[in-house]
Symmetry: C2
Subunit: 198 residues, 2 copies
Amino acid sequence: MATRLLLVKADGSVLVHSDGGSYKPLNWMSPPCTLVEGDGTWTVTNKAGEQLIVTIEQVEHDSAHELGVDPGLVKDGVEAHLQKLLAEQIHTLGDGYRLVRREFPTAIGPVDIMCRDAAGGAVAVEIKRRGEIDGVEQLTRYLELLNRDPLLAPVRGVFAAQEIKPQARTLAEDRGITCVVLDYEALRGVDDPSQRLF
Amino acid sequence: MATRLLLVKADGSVLVHSDGGSYKPLNWMSPPCTLVEGDGTWTVTNKAGEQLIVTIEQVEHDSAHELGVDPGLVKDGVEAHLQKLLAEQIHTLGDGYRLVRREFPTAIGPVDIMCRDAAGGAVAVEIKRRGEIDGVEQLTRYLELLNRDPLLAPVRGVFAAQEIKPQARTLAEDRGITCVVLDYEALRGVDDPSQRLF
DNA sequence: TTGTTGATTTCGCAA
DNA sequence: TTGCGAAGTCAACAA
């Protein structure tokens, strides 16, 4: 038994907040779920039959407010933006680079950017906001597959991110993958539509 | 401008909740951070200098409560439990299996369980609650390393999880890794202390 | 409906 | 302090 903040949101979710844990509640139930009040308890049940049971001994405060849905939040600088900007400025990777296409399809998922270097060699680019080992593994899988295609092989790999963790860099370089740290501000700054030819 | 729930927790975090997004706030700032009130705005700044700026036009309700820290929440069935139970009942993997040790150390991190099969061959086990591609990659890295050790090689891999995603299973089996679906209830059921010899 | 990917993950442990 | 692994992710998009 402890003092807690109970929060029922309009989407049906029920949150039990303690005073720690940053934005994460101590416990919760995600929508869709049903809330049954009775005998000092809330019983919250989701579709899978899982239950969150709250015993209420005393109410310090209780109020309800309509929040509405509204525009909400606009994000900037997510991976999709990095991908778009880098595709437009593929020369960031080196002189003579040419874009083949974004979201280049393969059997195991799309490669973020496929391009060719000055010598005409195929280059697969994996883009992350934060470059960690997962991303290197993902690019490695793509490279293994792409290099089986005689029309493409040999395909080099480039791992591009705003920040690359040391361990990810080590793994990438061990595998012959080039690491590139992207400067989002610089990419965005150069992305002036009036300076673009097409 | 919209009606929002502003929540300042004792750990310093500031949460802006809308009526959607389940347990996640529309926007937030994680501790440690500082909150400066002034002129209808809250300016929340973290250590890295990032800012969350909230403009307040009207207050519908305002209250403060001491929540305390308390025991909180006890979890059951996390990976550590699966690992302990499987180590105690290593025969789940097959007759004649013997435990070498849990958290078997390697240069790139500990292998969850190292054991030997009936024929005496080394087996590295990676345990997950939910088996996804990441886990297969992790086990693959361990196997590559372990198989360079002439005292251990050849080392087989077993990928054990309560639930294994099809893509993870395919990747694992392509690499000769055995997939095992763990039944937590069954493992726990057998783990009756009164039935244990030590 | 199902699967896959990205995200301001947070938290705990150990080196 | 830093790095790494685990977690009840959630939401958007595509097949």
